[in-house]
């Protein structure tokens, strides 16, 4: 019996040690620099608040954090969409002015491999920029660095919250350089095929409420688009 207990305690210790080693693995670092940082093309940056309560609408299955907003929005309860979120938000340009509306669909990806430090989500942005046009941004996002550096510390904290500075490139594909694929729709973006990257900057997170202070930025390369001012 005592050998069985020793084996059991050993296995638990082994699992915990593996988890700690995995969690603190220094080789799974967050991408800090955008793959588009060195592009010669014209680039637009669209920022948005990643706090659902500061957006226009956010919904999920109703059991997850953060809670849907507004309160009476329909929840995605059915099995096929229970791992999906819908986020509608205003988009702001570099000077902070309102630039457009974005609708983001995001679903957990079956290609998620935690062993390799990949907590993946497939997401699609449907963007409308008045005076410019519409486009689709299709991307794979890796949330593992965000989970590791923000969500888990918040969960382990006695106050169930996290405050600090996190910045990371969330986009990890599907393009070869780890960029999102952009398909232009109407207006100036008609026929556009380009790349984009989404980044996240977090300063506060509550394990109970979700993001408290968090902003996202969509950086989109516009190789052929001419400014409307010209």
């Amino acid at each position: 019996m005592r050998y069985f207990v020793a084996l059991l305690i050993g296995m638990l210790t082994g699992a915990v040690l593996f988890g700690a080693g995995f969690y603190y693995n220094p080789f799974m670092n967050q991408t800090m620099i955008s793959p588009l940082a060195v592009t010669n093309e014209k680039v637009i940056g669209l920022s948005f608040s990643a706090v659902p309560q500061e957006g226009i609408l956010y919904t999920n299955n109703g059991d997850s954090v953060p809670a849907p907003h507004p309160k009476r929005v329909a929840k995605l309860l059915e099995p096929a969409v229970s791992d999906t979120t819908v986020f509608v938000t205003e988009l702001h340009d570099g000077s902070g002015d309102l630039a457009g509306i974005g609708i983001k669909f995001s679903s957990r990806s079956e290609r998620t491999r935690l062993f390799g430090g990949e907590a993946l989500a497939n997401s699609a942005w449907h963007l409308y920029l008045p005076g410019e046009g519409t486009m689709l941004v299709d991307q794979t996002e890796n949330y593992w660095p965000y989970i590791r550096e923000v969500r888990i510390p918040a969960r382990l904290s006695s106050g169930e919250n996290w405050r600090g500075a996190f910045h990371g490139i969330m986009t990890s594909g599907p393009s070869a350089l780890g960029t999102a694929r952009v398909s232009g729709g109407s207006g100036l973006f008609s026929g556009l095929e380009s790349e984009a990257v989404e980044s996240l900057t977090a300063r506060g997170y509550s394990a109970v409420q979700g993001p408290v202070s968090m902003t996202g930025t969509l950086t989109i390369v516009l190789p052929r688009v001419e400014s409307t001012d010209e």
């Binding site: 082994g14 497939n122 046009g133």
Partner: protein
């Protein structure tokens, strides 16, 4: 027979450091022999006492050693097990509804989706309208978005099972050109980006083209038809949007 510490030891087939004293026959094991010697040669009592203590320590040490080895083995087993579990067990296993696809005579396939109104509405955002959906929606002003209307829906297959979500964005006053667009997102399959014609046909059906797709829809091209059905005999359903996707893969695919 052996001479240790000036004492004659009678062999019982087990060394002094016998691992399992309890398995020796009574009176023949090392401990019993020590007891016998103690009785027969009192002058060596102290030595014999220490010998006995040493044996006890060795046996205890050995027992602890085995426990420790078991513990270490457990650690390795636990770490390997956790690693194997993390590597092989799927972290995400999305629910899939059976696709209801019919093959078209000229190639490709047709799949029909539907949205039951008002039940499947997630969002109706239109500037200047008081009763936006959901209640409490803070939609940007008309001066910024004009008559742009954004809607979001839950999407069902022909069997009325939920399979995805969708957005429909339309504007007739956009200065760079009016548009009507759909983005239909199926969590387990991918996303369709559809551009619709501005004017519907006489029968009310609006045609559109698949502008881009992701995942399963990435290599596909085709047309999507949108139709609003107002007369629906299905409980609280007041109307239904039907999306009919006729899609085909690229010609000349290599097997």
């Amino acid at each position: 027979m052996a001479q240790v510490a000036g004492i004659t030891w009678v062999s019982c087939g087990e060394p002094l450091t016998a691992r399992r004293v309890g398995l020796c026959k009574p009176g023949l094991c090392a401990r019993s022999q020590i007891a016998r010697q103690m009785m027969s040669r009192p002058s060596n009592l102290t030595k014999l006492h220490y010998q006995s203590r040493r044996i006890d320590r060795q046996q205890t040490h050995h027992r602890v050693n085995r426990l420790f080895k078991t513990f270490i083995f457990g650690i390795i087993l636990g770490a390997l097990g956790a690693g194997a579990l993390m590597y092989f067990a799927p972290a995400v296993n999305l629910h899939r509804e059976r696709s209801l696809i019919s093959v078209q005579p000229n190639g490709g396939s047709m799949e029909r989706f539907q949205i039951n109104l008002p039940r499947d509405r997630i969002l109706v955002g239109l500037a200047g309208v008081e009763d936006s959906i959901p209640a409490g929606l803070d939609w940007p002003g008309e001066d910024f978005l004009g008559d742009m209307q954004a809607e979001a829906f839950i999407v069902r297959n022909e069997n009325n099972a939920v399979v995805g979500v969708a957005s429909r964005v339309a504007s007739s006053t956009e200065e760079t050109g009016a548009f009507i667009e759909w983005v239909v997102h199926f969590p387990a399959r991918g996303t369709m980006y559809v551009q619709m014609e501005l004017t519907p046909a006489e029968d009310g059906v609006r045609d559109g083209v698949l502008r881009a797709g992701t995942q399963d829809f990435l290599p596909l091209t085709g047309r999507i038809r949108e139709q609003f059905v107002s007369e629906v005999d299905d409980g609280d359903v007041q109307g239904r949007i039907v999306l009919e996707a006729t899609l085909a893969g690229p010609l000349g695919d290599e097997e």
